[in-house]
Every structure is written in C-alpha cells, then in structure tokens.
C-alpha cells in the first residue's frame, strides 16, 4: 500500500498525538525527504524532534527531515498583507479587535486559508517527492478544520472562494494526496472516540482514513493461569490485570478499525521515566515496520 502524500495525524487529547506524529515523520524521513507541519499551537511534535520553528519558516532536523509551524492566524496575516500592501496599515488592522471579530464571525476564514496553504504545500511536496506529516489539532477541532471548505461552499455558492473551496475539497478527497491517521489508546472511551472521529472524517467529509495508531500498548507477560495463581497478592495482582487488560483492549479494538478499512498499528507502552529521543526512535522503528512496510 502506498501512503498518501499528506498524513493528517489527529486524535483525542492525551492519546499521544504529537508524539506519534513526530515518530511517523521520523520513520518516513529514513526513506524520503519529509516535512512535519505542526498545526497544534503548542508545537510539542516539533519539540519532540528537538526543533523550535517560528514564523512559518522550515527548520532542518536532519538532511531529510524539516519542521514547520503553521498557524491559522499567520495565514490570515499573509492574506491581509496581500490585499493591503502597505505594511503599517495592515499591521495595525490585524491588531484591531474589530477586525478580529469580523474574521471570527466569518465562517472559518482563517481555517480555510490554512487548508489552502496545506494544499499548496502538498503540490510542492509532490514535485519533490517529499512527504508531509501534519500534527493536527485534537479530534474535535480537526473535524471542524476539515469541514470548513464545505461550509464556505454553502455560503459562497459562486465566485473565487467557491472555486478555491472546490479545489481544497478535491485535494482532501483525493486518497493519493491526503489521508487521516487517528491516534488512540487501549481504553474504551478513547477507542470509541477514535472510531467515531474516523467515521465522521470518512463518511461525512469523504476523506480517506489511512490508519489507526494504538498508542501505549503494554506487552503481554502474564498468561491466564498465572493471573489466577497471583490472586492472593492484592496490589500486585491488580497491577498485572491492569497490564493484561490494556493489552486485551488493544486486541479487541483492532478488528473494529480493520472493519472500517483502516490499517492498525500498535505502539508499545514506553515504561520509561520520560519520553526522549531514544523512545521516539524506538516508536519510529515500529512504525517503519508496521505502517510503511505494508
């Protein structure tokens, strides 16, 4: 299976979305030039790769990997600066609260411009045979972001904006160019939300859902007879059950994602006091074998 040019990584808060996005970018960059676009204001994916990108300028992490931070606000500023070329005025205008309100009331103009930027980046990436990994906002906001172009089409049934929305829709709906990756953890609530997000993205928005990444799956070390033997051990038994049931949750969820036509990759729980570059490299290796080699 070939991956789409752009991988849009989203997931519920607390599922390790940024870590996974960073690990995917790291794994891909061993094969092809890759750009990680950090859309998640806090830049934790960029930080995981040791980069501090600013001002929408790409920062090199290695020969084949660079990181860029994109914000809807910066895209809006660029747009305003195109329309009002006198910098002093455009700057002041952007600072005025009134303008902030008018743009907030506009149906997602900022988000729309951000999607347009991604579309252009994907075109450039195709020319350079480069991959683009996006650390997207958490699932709720990500769905809002992806729905913005259809919203714009409803509001502007004709004209330039409508044509732009059309080309963005075409880009998002093209499985060779764009696909979503959903992160989750082996917990009922997280799995359910991941399945719902995936269904919304696929069915309502018509966007390909490539893979589910099940993060923090502990390896199985106890078998059932052992669990029975340790029952008098109270706290230790509970801790063993905790490990086993997380593993089982992951196993139970896998077919549900497969039924939805998604690849499923389990990432091991990192039982370490912190997540640093060594852990990220390990996760990258698993993704390399389980996601990229399929």
């Amino acid at each position: 299976m070939t991956l789409p040019r752009v991988l849009f990584v989203t997931g519920k808060g607390g599922t390790g979305k940024s870590t996974v996005a960073a690990a995917i970018a790291l794994a891909l960059s061993r094969r092809r030039p890759t750009t990680l676009a950090d859309l998640d204001g806090r830049l934790s994916a960029a930080a995981a790769l040791g980069a501090m990108p600013r001002d929408s300028t790409a920062v090199k992490v290695s020969d084949t990997l660079d990181v860029i931070a994109l914000t809807a606000r910066a895209e809006l500023e660029a747009f305003i600066e195109r329309i009002v070329p006198i910098r002093a005025i455009s700057r002041r205008m952007l600072r005025s609260r009134t303008f902030g309100y008018v743009t907030a009331a506009l149906p997602g103009l900022e988000a729309f411009l951000l999607l347009e930027r991604l579309r252009i980046m994907a075109g450039d990436a195709a020319l350079e045979d480069r991959y683009l990994v996006i650390d997207a906002p958490a699932s709720g906001s990500a769905v809002e972001l992806l729905s913005v172009s259809s919203g714009v089409k409803n509001l502007a049934p004709a004209g330039t904006l409508n044509r732009l929305a059309d080309s963005i829709d075409g880009f998002l709906g093209d499985a060779t160019r764009f696909g979503a990756v959903i992160t989750t953890t082996p917990e009922t609530l997280a799995v359910r939300e991941a399945l719902e997000t995936a269904a919304t993205i696929r069915e309502r928005l018509g966007i390909a859902t490539v893979a589910a990444i099940m993060n923090c799956v502990p390896d199985l070390i106890f078998d059932t007879s052992e669990l029975a033997a340790m029952s008098p051990l109270g706290g230790h038994a509970r801790l063993a059950i905790r490990r086993n049931s997380a593993h089982e949750q992951a196993a139970l969820a896998a077919p549900r994602f497969a039924d939805a036509g998604m690849m499923i990759v389990n990432l091991p729980m990192m039982f370490t006091p912190s997540i640093g570059s060594a852990e990220l490299t390990k996760l990258g290796r698993v993704l390399d074998a389980e996601l990229l080699d399929r």
């Binding site: 009134t98 008018v102 904006l161 502990p218 230790h236 509970r238 006091p273």
Partner: protein, 368 residues
C-alpha cells in the same frame, strides 16, 4: 496546607485543556458537595454518554434535572439530608443565546432580523466561542436561585483559558465597536470620521466581498444595527458576570492530568488567568496512578519463581511511569501560584458510569 473547602464556595469553575476529564471532575466535586450537605447545581458541557447516564441527563436537558443521591449519601442528621440536593443541567449555547436575544430584543421584527442574520448564525455556532458567553449567562440565571448553596461549572474545552472568562467582554466590545458600525455605513457617510485602520479594514472586507460575493459588509452592518438598544441589557449582565468571577466565594479550579504536555498547557492557563487578575484557587491533577504495591510483599510470596520474576518486572515498569508522574507533579508544585493548592484525583481504572463512581472520585480528590 489548608484543604479546599467546597462548603465555603458559592461557585466553582473548572477550567482546563480538552481531554483531561474536566467534566468528570466537575461532576465529582458536585456530588462530593452534595454529600457534604450542600444544595448543588452542576452545569456540564458536552459530557460523555456514560456520564450523561450517571447524571440522569437526556441528550438535551437544558433545564436542571434532579440527580438521585441514593446510596452515596451518608448524612446521619436528617436535616442535612433534606437540604442537600444535586441538580444537573447541560448547556446548549445556541438555545441560550436565542432566548437571550428574544429577551432583550426591542421588537419581534428586531429579534427575527438577528436570528436570521448570517453573522449571528456563525457567531452563535462554535466558531466565535459564544458558547463560553452563554455558559456565563446560564450561570447568572442559576445563581439567582437563593436556595442553591453551590454551583459547579464545567467549561467548554478551550485552548486558551481566557476564551471562556473573557467572553462577555469580547461580545460587548463587538456590539459597542465604533469601527464595526462605521464599517457598515454607506460609502461617503462618516467618511471624515473613519480612521486609517477603519478605512483599511473596510477596504479588505470590500475586496473580500467583491472576490467572494459574500456581501459581508451589509451583514455586519445589519447585525450591529439590530442590536441597537440591546447593549444596555448585555452590558449589565456582562458586568455582573465579571463581578461573580472575582467574588471571594468563587473558586477557579484548573484541571489537568500528569502528562508533561498537559501540565505545560495548564501552566499557560494559570499565567493567563493571573495576567487577567483572576485568582486560581486550586489545581486538580486528574487520573493519577494509584499507589504501587509493596515490593517486599513479592519477596516473601509463595509463588513460582518465574512468576515472581515477571511480577517484579511489572512493578518496575509501572514504577517508571509513576516516576514520570512524580517528576511532573514536582515541577507543578514548584510553579503553583501563591494561594493556590494542588490536589489530585485518583484514576478509577474505568470510565465513571454511576453516581457512586463520581462519589468515589470526589472522595479521592485530596491535597497533594
């Protein structure tokens, strides 16, 4: 350190990044307060289906619903039991906003103009954070009830703390904005009063209108005009909401989990709140791992050596995760604003689905 006394509060506002269990903590605090004998209202935003069940809420309960506390109430004195109650309601921002418009509009025609306006329809949706403002509105309504001792307010997931607390002021600013009014004015009129920025903003919108065919200028104009005369009502409410936030019996609680990225986010929340002159009373670190079992217990246990070895490894693995948590907690403790207390809530190991589950979480919330 003085523990956080729920009984001394009139209002508890839970703020925090998305996905940390803000709704669960709000509900658990409310159940706890009711168990302590208070008459409590809890207002939640977008609860998970199981939590909705636990609180006995329907998909669209925008009016308070009585929650049965059977089985979790211990009060021996019957007086306490009689007074204590818990009501839950779910916030529907759109509906609340519509009803406010209906209340303040000077005429039916003005009301309809607003409700039909495109800017309003977008503004009252998720985009402009009007949900935040509406939570404040509903709050004032609930606070007017003299029989209520405590209101616990769960807030919409926000990327920025002030989105919520600042909402009334921002809405007022829009309504009161001279520039927006002037933007909407016909060309030529007021021209001399327009500042450079207004002219530029107008130029951008005009260009945008031309390119897109959205006719925004007239929409913005009619939106602001239709609010004529309603400004008074709004500004009184907003001022009251701001007073409420700063009242001495209001507690702002920032909820987070022990993950380092969440803690960094929660710290930003606190900085923003302090910057706005708001005092954070407490910070709750949710889903903290339970205490680990004793390693010595393993040494003396009479089980197969192979199993013993595995259990040792399991303990070491989870101890590493516990260390990760503790490092985060220590960092958090060091950066806590003065006067705020740090509390933790233990991980239930499952999704809370009954009032008893919420009561258990509520009881586990303690100073750390």
């Amino acid at each position: 350190m003085k523990p956080f006394d729920l009984r001394a509060q009139k209002l508890v506002i839970c703020l925090g990044p998305g996905g940390v269990g803000k709704t669960t903590i709000s509900a658990a605090l409310a159940v706890r307060a009711a168990m302590l004998g208070c008459a409590v209202d809890v207002m939640t935003v977008d609860p998970a289906p199981r939590l909705l069940d636990a609180l006995g809420l329907e998909q669209d309960s925008s009016e308070p619903v009585e929650v049965f506390l059977d089985g979790v109430q211990r009060g021996r004195r019957s007086k306490t039991r009689e007074h204590a109650r818990l009501r839950a309601l779910r916030l529907d921002p759109k509906r609340t906003f519509d009803s406010i418009i209906a209340r303040y509009a000077l005429s039916d025609a003005a009301r309809d103009t607003i409700l039909e306006n495109r800017i309003y329809r977008n503004l009252s949706g998720a985009l402009a954070g009007v949900g935040d403002y509406m939570a404040m509105e509903k709050l004032l309504e609930l606070a007017a009830n003299p029989t209520t001792d405590l209101i616990v307010l769960d807030t919409p997931p926000a990327t920025e703390a002030l989105d919520f607390l600042d909402a009334p002021r921002r809405l007022l600013e829009l309504l009161n904005s001279r520039a927006v009014t002037l933007l909407g004015a016909p060309a030529g009129l007021f021209r001399s009063q327009l500042r450079m920025v207004d002219i530029a903003a107008r130029a951008v919108l005009a260009a945008f209108d031309r390119v897109t065919g959205l006719h925004l200028l007239s929409d913005v104009q009619s939106f602001v005009r239709s609010f004529d005369g309603m400004y008074e009502g709004f500004s009184v409410r907003a001022a009251r909401a701001q007073d409420k936030l700063r009242a001495t019996d209001t507690a702002i609680v920032v909820v987070t989990t022990a993950e380092s990225s969440r803690i960094a986010q929660a710290r930003e929340f606190i900085d923003a709140l302090e910057g706005a002159g708001l005092r954070v009373s407490a910070m709750v670190v949710n889903r903290l791992m339970a205490e680990l079992p004793d390693a010595a217990e393993l040494a003396s246990a009479r089980i197969a050596p192979s199993l013993k070895k595995k259990l040792k490894r399991n303990l070491a693995d989870y101890a590493a995760l516990k260390t990760r948590e503790e490092v985060s907690l220590t960092a958090l403790r060091d950066s806590l604003p003065s006067g705020a207390i740090l509390m933790v809530a233990h991980d239930l190991g499952r999704e809370p689905r009954t009032i008893a589950d919420l009561a258990e979480i509520g009881r586990s919330i303690s100073a750390a």
